[in-house]
Amino acid sequence: MELVIFFIRAVVAVIGAVAMLMSRNAIHSALFLLLNFSAIAVLYLLLRAPFLFAVQLIVYAGAIIVLFLFVVMLLGAERAEDERDQIAWQRPLAAVLGVVLLGEAIYVFFVQPGTVVRAPTAGAEDFASPDKISAALFSTYLLPFEITSVLLLAALVGVVVLHLRAPQAQANGSEPLSELPTIAPEPTVPGEVVRH
């Protein structure tokens, strides 16, 4: 039964990934990526990782995909890229390199499987229940957890600084820094949406 679910979800995940590569429209790409993420979330559930299942759905499927969709619609970047290529041999070479990479991985996993992958040990069903994860996170991994908050704060500040500077650099590059809060990025946003 688990094997059936695994194969269905694996096929859905691969279809999502390949369709994301192939679709010409960036919005379709983002939605196929959402399909891929949700398939992987179900695989986490099969792997007895309910906490990561929830985190995958909330952070990836919820936050990151919405962010992608928002930016795609904001920039009007959903139109197809033109076919001409500045480096003509890049795509064939990329295909060859991709096949080589996949073949290498398959070789390592199938020809010498014992060196890489052990058989799964049948252990406790709830070895990764949310309370055990939180116990590890707030004891052994307390310092990385706190550093994560600093990282998120840095990202937040970085995003705000980038978005304050971008319209101002376009208008006048020599504006003093103290004038920044008066230049709101909002006026450019409706224009962008209307233009496309």
């Binding site: 688990e2 094997l3 691969v14 990934a17 994301m20 590569l21 960036a26 790409s29 983002a30 990526l33 891929n36 992987i40 695989l43 986490y44 099969l46 792997l47 990782a49 906490f51 990561l52 985190v55 952070v59 990836y60 936050a63 990151i64 962010l67 930016v71 904001l74 920039l75 970047a77 500045q86 070479l93 295909a95 390199l97 990479l101 996949l102 991985a105 996993f109 199938f110 499987p113 890489v116 992958v117 052990r118 058989a119 799964p120 049948a122 406790a124 070895f127 990764a128 994860i133 590890a136 996170l137 994560t148 998120l152 840095a154 990202a155 970085g158 995003v159 980038l162 978005h163 450019t188």
Partner: protein, 100 residues
């Protein structure tokens, strides 16, 4: 019980798809999505190994990877929007100012 090998092979396939996306596509947004795909395939392999060894540390690492990926996406998309404001394109072939 699904063998760990199946998860690892699926992870390798997804990672290859992500690599191909980075190499083939010209739209910076889709290149970014491909990077996310690669991070996800690595996460899948980590969770599969964690389950095979009944070890919690792999899942904790996946939690941190997801956190860093969220921060990375926020900053990267802000950079893309800033580039779009000056260059009016998301085509990575057009953004070649550093080429000299």
């Amino acid at each position: 019980m699904v063998p760990t090998l199946y998860y690892i092979v699926l992870s390798a396939v997804l990672f290859t798809a992500g690599v191909l996306g980075v190499l083939i596509r010209r739209n910076a947004l889709i290149v970014f999505m491909s990077v996310e795909l690669m991070l996800n395939s690595a996460n899948l392999a980590l969770v599969a190994f964690a389950q095979a060894r009944q070890n919690l540390n792999g899942q904790i690492l996946v939690f941190f990877v997801i956190t860093v990926a969220a921060a990375e996406v926020a900053v990267g998309l802000a950079l893309l929007v800033a580039i779009f404001h000056t260059k009016r394109t998301t085509d990575i072939d057009e953004i070649s100012t550093l080429k000299g």
